[in-house]
Amino acid sequence: MLPEKISDLSLQTSHELATTYAALSFDYNPLHLDEEFAAKTAFGAPIAHGTMALNLLLQAIENAFGSKLDHEHLEIRFSAPVKVGEKITAGGVRADDGYSVWVKTEAGVTVISGLLRFGRQP
């Protein structure tokens, strides 16, 4: 039986983690790493890699479903930036046709929202 919710999983972001994630994903966009560069953008400060938060969500999904994972279809939107240094939490709840999933900051800002479904997609 599938769980009613995807239990919360949190990650404390930091400059050190952003640097490690840059190496992991080969994404050295200065928006994530360079304070001086980021200060001149609309974000005003370095923001975490979007997929760093997305992968936290995928970890939460793996924790919830384990070996039952099969043909997951995930559609998400990066709805707000995560400032490097913020703590983020991923989770989800059962919805009509899958799971409503998210990643939020401690302030309650949704930074990723989306839908998870299982099964082959047309």
């Binding site: 994404d27 936290l56 994972l69 043909h71 279809h73 939107r77 990066f78």
Partner: protein, 131 residues
Amino acid sequence: MEEQTLWTFDRFEPGQLFGTIDVAMDAKKRADWVSIYGKTDSDLLPRGMVVAAMMESYVRAIQPRPSGNVHASQVLNFSDVRPRWGTTLSTMVSCTAKAEKNGRFWVDFGILVSADASEVLSGTIRSIWAK
């Protein structure tokens, strides 16, 4: 050394292929993964590691690129194939769509990740290109 031309919005065309990039899921990748997301007892690659490799391939395939591109949304379709640490993931990257809306440059990139010729992940990276 020959200077490469910056990838700007104007140069993208739907149907364009950027090649296939191989990324080894080696001990360094595993150590970096663990230092961010914590230890895993399983020898199976976390789904997120596949996504990180997808991003690496996307970044490597399209160079040089302007600073300040934004990852706006993402579609992921995983198969039932679960590669293990130590394998090499191969990712094909293509342009599937582009549009200029309200002064923003939207580009969709198709990705197809395989391990040992079996499909692991397909999907779409939607980016707002910086220029």
